[in-house]
């Protein structure tokens, strides 16, 4: 009795992913034997392909923990997280969350945030191309309408707020030699690609709270209040002009019209 096509493909896929399962029925060789090593080639291809893809997307995370630890961590992730689509360029979007809950990496509290910067960087790299909002348009808004205005985030814009120096650690690993990290502090990093180059900038605490609100689509008034609460010395005008000048937004929304 042979199984139907769909049934046998299901059995093949299951055995591929779970080394604990017996080899699928019906696989053979020219000698007519069932060869576990030949089946293992496919199993290896799946896992080595996925873990290699993660290593390419998370090079700093990999350097931080070393190749062997990374391979084991990526292998554990890949066992339960297959790409939802054939677009491997997006594989690992939730790898940072996995790392945060991965007990063997628990002592590296900053590691998930470094991985989040790597996610933001690659997302920005592949994001839709769009002209950033021109600062002149902000300058032309009637002053009394500024607080009610909200901005459309640029498709490439991402913000990583960390309790650790995740940006400094990431940056320290961009060269051959790893630069020393001298100050242990919280950091916020804005990632954006206004044209063809991905820009990464530290933001001061008030500006980070401000940017976080704006990227979620709140009005400038609401975002400013959050920023003042986070940092009393927050400078609204400089932060807005700075973020717009960096290309973090692509347009502003029409006024909500709810206010007097």
């Amino acid at each position: 009795m042979t199984m139907g096509f769909n049934e046998s493909q299901s059995a093949f896929a299951a055995a591929l992913l779970d080394p604990g399962l017996p080899l699928p029925q019906g696989i053979t060789t020219a000698r007519g034997v069932t060869d576990p090593l030949r089946f293992a080639v496919y199993r290896n291809n799946v896992y080595v392909g996925l873990t290699t893809a993660l290593g390419q997307r998370f090079p700093v995370t990999k350097r931080l923990v070393g190749s062997e630890f990374f391979a084991g961590m990526a292998r554990t992730y890949a066992a339960d997280h297959k790409p939802a689509t054939p677009l491997i360029i997006h594989y690992g979007d939730d790898f940072p969350d996995f790392i945060a809950a991965f007990p063997p990496a628990a002592s590296l509290a900053y590691l998930p945030d470094v991985a989040r910067i790597e996610v933001a960087w690659t997302r920005a790299y592949h994001a839709a191309d769009r002209l950033p909002l021109d600062v002149a348009k902000i300058a032309a808004v009637p002053p009394e309408r500024i607080a009610e205005m909200s901005l459309v985030p640029h498709p490439s814009a991402g913000l990583v707020r960390s309790d650790f120096p995740a940006g400094t650690i990431w940056s320290a690993h961009q060269g051959e030699a790893v630069a020393p990290v001298t100050e242990w502090r919280a950091e916020a990093v804005l990632v954006v690609r206004p044209a063809m180059h991905v820009e990464i900038r530290f933001l001061p605490p008030g500006d980070a709270a401000f940017a976080a609100c704006l990227l979620e689509g709140t009005t400038l008034g609401t975002a400013a209040q959050k920023a003042f609460a986070a940092a009393p010395d927050f400078d609204f005008g400089s932060a807005l002009i700075g973020l717009v000048g960096l290309g973090a937004f692509s347009a502003f929304e029409a006024f909500e019209g709810k206010l007097p």
């Binding site: 080394p19 931080l64 923990v65 630890f69 084991g72 500024i146 820009e199 005008g237």
Partner: protein, 95 residues
């Protein structure tokens, strides 16, 4: 801060940012390109070649880690990162 006070404060802050020396001619794109460097602190960027995973139709003869046989040995740069007493060591995995 009530709504009208906020509106006034924001409008004033924006006006002075636009009027300030560094933004004296903010409407010229080439000036803005220069000005934006003043905002935030730029971090050294990633090499575009390492821009994410590739898709391939090739196989591999590399052997995969066999599930729970993996034991972690911290060997990365985290082991040398020790700032203000914040250690970067990893726990070895018990299998």
């Amino acid at each position: 801060m009530n709504r009208s006070t906020l509106t006034l404060a924001l409008a004033g802050s924006l006006a002075s940012a636009i009027a300030s020396a560094s933004f004296a001619a903010p409407l010229a794109p080439e000036k803005m390109a220069g000005n934006e460097k003043c905002y935030g602190i730029a971090l050294k960027g990633q090499n575009d070649c390492a821009a994410g995973p590739g898709t391939t139709c090739a196989g591999t003869s590399t052997m995969d880690y066999q599930g729970n046989a993996w034991k972690a040995v911290p060997a990365g740069t985290c082991t040398s990162m020790n700032v203000d007493g914040h250690k970067g060591m990893l726990e070895p995995v018990k299998s």
